[in-house]
Symmetry: D3
Subunit: 273 residues, 6 copies
Amino acid sequence: MPAGEFRHPSPPPPPPGSEEEERWVWAQIKAEARRDAEAEPALASYLYSTILSHSSLERSLSFHLGNKLCSSTLLSTLLYDLFLNIFSTDATLRSATVADLRAARFRDPACVSFSHCLLNYKGFLACQAHRVAHKLWTQSRRPLALALQSRISDVFSVDIHPAAKIGKGILFDHATGVVVGETAVIGNNVSILHHVTLGGTGKSGGDRHPKIGDGVLIGAGATILGNIKIGDGAKIGAGSVVLIDVPPRTTAILILCSVILLLNRALTILFGV
Amino acid sequence: MPAGEFRHPSPPPPPPGSEEEERWVWAQIKAEARRDAEAEPALASYLYSTILSHSSLERSLSFHLGNKLCSSTLLSTLLYDLFLNIFSTDATLRSATVADLRAARFRDPACVSFSHCLLNYKGFLACQAHRVAHKLWTQSRRPLALALQSRISDVFSVDIHPAAKIGKGILFDHATGVVVGETAVIGNNVSILHHVTLGGTGKSGGDRHPKIGDGVLIGAGATILGNIKIGDGAKIGAGSVVLIDVPPRTTAILILCSVILLLNRALTILFGV
Amino acid sequence: MPAGEFRHPSPPPPPPGSEEEERWVWAQIKAEARRDAEAEPALASYLYSTILSHSSLERSLSFHLGNKLCSSTLLSTLLYDLFLNIFSTDATLRSATVADLRAARFRDPACVSFSHCLLNYKGFLACQAHRVAHKLWTQSRRPLALALQSRISDVFSVDIHPAAKIGKGILFDHATGVVVGETAVIGNNVSILHHVTLGGTGKSGGDRHPKIGDGVLIGAGATILGNIKIGDGAKIGAGSVVLIDVPPRTTAILILCSVILLLNRALTILFGV
Amino acid sequence: MPAGEFRHPSPPPPPPGSEEEERWVWAQIKAEARRDAEAEPALASYLYSTILSHSSLERSLSFHLGNKLCSSTLLSTLLYDLFLNIFSTDATLRSATVADLRAARFRDPACVSFSHCLLNYKGFLACQAHRVAHKLWTQSRRPLALALQSRISDVFSVDIHPAAKIGKGILFDHATGVVVGETAVIGNNVSILHHVTLGGTGKSGGDRHPKIGDGVLIGAGATILGNIKIGDGAKIGAGSVVLIDVPPRTTAILILCSVILLLNRALTILFGV
Amino acid sequence: MPAGEFRHPSPPPPPPGSEEEERWVWAQIKAEARRDAEAEPALASYLYSTILSHSSLERSLSFHLGNKLCSSTLLSTLLYDLFLNIFSTDATLRSATVADLRAARFRDPACVSFSHCLLNYKGFLACQAHRVAHKLWTQSRRPLALALQSRISDVFSVDIHPAAKIGKGILFDHATGVVVGETAVIGNNVSILHHVTLGGTGKSGGDRHPKIGDGVLIGAGATILGNIKIGDGAKIGAGSVVLIDVPPRTTAILILCSVILLLNRALTILFGV
Amino acid sequence: MPAGEFRHPSPPPPPPGSEEEERWVWAQIKAEARRDAEAEPALASYLYSTILSHSSLERSLSFHLGNKLCSSTLLSTLLYDLFLNIFSTDATLRSATVADLRAARFRDPACVSFSHCLLNYKGFLACQAHRVAHKLWTQSRRPLALALQSRISDVFSVDIHPAAKIGKGILFDHATGVVVGETAVIGNNVSILHHVTLGGTGKSGGDRHPKIGDGVLIGAGATILGNIKIGDGAKIGAGSVVLIDVPPRTTAILILCSVILLLNRALTILFGV
């Protein structure tokens, strides 16, 4: 069996959200990392420092995020401490992390294992760091929340305002260029591709960003603007610009990008920079 | 009052561009940082090293940019020295910095303070670093200017050719993915969202990029290609592809993205990667 | 002659792909770096460490990539060793590198020299690192290949699945936000601008990404989805969303983005976030 | 009052070893750091990150040691975690730390404050890190204990075998070059100057290093070899070589270095390297 | 069996200096590291990156030295490359390394395993790095050799002039403060404790440093000055100052430090700084 | 001519202390570095970053010290700024630096060039950093001065109290383990070997450290204790312990280490640790 492939062990996984699931997922991650460390000595040091030397998922995640997001003026120890403290004391965050790992593992065909997501998915990592920033925001620790947002944007090219509310089971796939505004709300089990914007419409303040329902799928490069509702289960096509509400649970979607053009003259000037 | 909020002090700020404004803005920034350091000990070290330990805005900015843009082969001390030397000797750059800080503070509802912009806005930081690269370019120090462009693109995902000319009072909001070509010109008080391209059209050289007038607003993901003019005060919608001139001071804009599609069949294949 | 400009020396360069070409390009790069180091002392240390201290192109490239892609948990020495080992033993990779350098130098008017591309083009660097990740993938060293993909995505904002097959003479221009899926194939002499997606359509696995022919040009922000063919020499306009095959060697292209809108009311809500 | 000077506050400090003392010393340290940060903005960031951002002495010390002793292969987060875990769960170590701070503050005339010792005394820091290494040794975590010893020796030039037993209230003054062997024992309230060796005599194993009583003072460069006893309160002169027991509580000491030489001929060859 | 303890495997080790010995020692080191990584997850990452991910002793050693001796201006990749290149092409150096490992393992009772010495003994590491500096010196690459000497002195507090000639099977125990001058020569199987100086006598140049025979033992803090001979097998006591030849193979030694002093008055002024 | 060797150019150097000397020494250093960079590409990057990219000796020195002494909590840019500011505004410090460079170059036979000393001599570098710490001390910026002392002691194993007064033309040779107390004074043109202590005698404060006259030479490991005078031109033998005044300009010296011992029995126990 090639390294990197993942096979479900015989006993079925615990039900999603149950207490045993967190332990089960962490056990899976350690088993995957152990197998990969054995198969690839060049990666073993990395796998031990990020996963195998830790006693829990929140420690591993806090360590990994601290090292990814630190800078010469925001030290890794400070961030590690901050993340660990918040993940350790908030079971809701930990269960959201597990739901996000499931989302990547079972909804993205390119995701070969839980540890693949934990280590390598910048969308996953940006989302977990956002949850901490959001928690800080709700505690009125805003300068720290904003500093975290800035680091996430520098490192992962994912810019989520710490006030934005995000549900569980989220898949930010590829994630580069995602922008989520201050008053945006994202439901549960949402999949969002790269370059997606949940933006405002230039109003000077107040509630001005989209509300995304449960189970929504938003394609690459879609731009959704204003305080509008994307109903549960809706699908937004890649490259769409959406300015009005989309009804819940419809497969039809609203886009502002269409029509086939075959005008040679006009198109020959479209290329390059 | 929650940390991170900013209230205007009683006396009105000095007129924009006046000599006192630079001192006033710097005094505001220090006051904000002092308040935040007191409220949030975990951030105090960061605020002292980036703002409170410095005697002027250009020193603070040079330090912050040097630490953000350095790498193992381009040391922070070298970059700090370079930035400080250029900001110290060119009052025009300093006044552009102040105008950019005002632009973010007063045009972006999510911007809670001047220090928020100085510390956290990658669009602001990329723009200041570009101004230095542009200055080097005009001094025929091109390899250094290009190295700087490359670091800005790596760190902030903002790719501005050092030859591009950019006015004052610029807001690059979110900024990830912005690309500005070699012969592009951007006027004063322009707002540019993320993923915006001011690109060429594949011609082999010469003047081949857009000229953006004063007060223009360019929405997220807009692509403006070729040596065309976007008139003063024009607004370009999010996701637009613009290939021809847009008249000055019009609210109407030209886009190549439109029409509502409700064809279920076609759209079900638009999602994901 | 201003620093940074490049003049072809009198003798014509060796034929592309010939054995002498690699040596010739490396000699050019060293000559350029030597000239720039002399003209710009502030950059000399950088040029010596990345280019002039090395005895071959693959050593210089391995050093540069190792330093760019390393992190606190994936050390530069480990990556340097990995890159050098693979580039040294695979002449095909080295010849692809040279073809990519030619592509940037002669197809991008903003590229002033080979060393400019080698040092500064994140698209070039991401592509070379991808070739190593792809090689690891074909050797079933998948966890390492995926770790490399993740670092390339973090550092360059370019996300190419290590299984994707990419030809020679590739120009990823600006490159921020490029996403290339697992079963995508890219031919030779292809130019791809920033924000381009070669994505899937949400199918749960299998061959689900585009196949790009030789000599294709894909404009900024184009989104190409599904297991479709873009024929040799085709051109895809900026901002296009492409869902069906494009015939080979046609100048006509298929896009889903069009029509001119001048409705003031609709457009005033399109701006900002 | 000049910065850096320390005045005892009016209420007398709590009795040594009492429960309140730890809190009192920590309060002193924070007050000193706050005063210094105010007087010296260039140092404020350092003082906040090492002292003022922490909620307890053990957190501050763990952070400081983690950053001092880390390397590219032993990350600061790992060490921070290790130190914090051990200091948090072992009150004996914490009380020894406080006793050592008192020892420096009240026995070394050059020590101007508790924070001066905490931040700057490599002898103090090496001793605290040794206590952690010793604890690991007693838990049979020997490879980690030895790795810590090695880092302490690299960073502080203080080489204490993790098996060595060291009491409370220890002052390692200047500390460079101190060597303490595996079976050495050091009592309470001992002062040891730099270049002091508590070494073996070449025997192949077993109990082979000195036992130092309470309140002993060992001068700079003294070399004490073999399983001998230095009695309580004894004083060993600088440069001494001691090979036999020294009686307890005597002011007389045994040395092997003596006699005044005024032979010009012999001494003219003693200088330089 | 407690972690960190080492038991000889049943088959006797290959004869010293034989070709198989290098392989045997490397196999021992890997086995030790594997055992320790299993017993101590916190150290596993370190053990994998420094030992277990490498295919040979010279790769492991070059990696370890490169990371220890690098600085912000002398990068680890450069040093790694330099060390690996020299160790790979010079079998004499490799065999000296193995002999030094044996020396520590079998002559120092505190050395619990080969890997303990390879990872943690700064005297061992300084000596290996010196061998490389010496090789560079003999190749007239003097500035690089001197830069290496400087790094070794900064990092390990061991200052050996690159021109000094050092044999095999050397044990620098503890090592802090060792100084070896330009024209010094050290034979085989020599043990040198910390603070030992092999210095000159102030002459203005030429052959002015000691020549140490085979099997000599020099105690802590001994100072040996001038172009004198210490005969094979001689022993120099701790703290000695030696200015004249010591006959070969004698157990008697010459020192300039002696006599027992019991004068209370004189000695009470000897303590502290 | 082998790299690393230095020949005096034809015109004689300017008189010591003259205004032209500083320029002349800096020109020599640049010429040496240029020659070495050409001969040794592996070192060129280092030589450009530390010497050749700088416009003056004080910039080069400030850069080098900033990079050597920085830590994760005391950033290189902060230290660079501090050093540059003080060296730029105090001509006395700059002239002392030049005198120290001369001292190493002409009094140490192992010193092959001015740049050898500037780059590699930790005694020289520690002394220059001490002068800055001393200046800060006299300005009552004591916490910063003490932090600097601590970094010098960590990095160079040289511990000089910032209050100690040191003249010009000082050679700290090898330097490891040098300790200089708070009230010590060192005259001009003094040479001090490694492990030398200018310490106190345990008194609780006040003027308690040695006063060293001009032109004194102190051998390796000498320990000089108490408020005593070492007269101009005196020589202190290696390993001496000096407790009383030494008359000026005598070649005779006072030591407390003497007599030849040939007692086999006693000495066989002197070895090892």
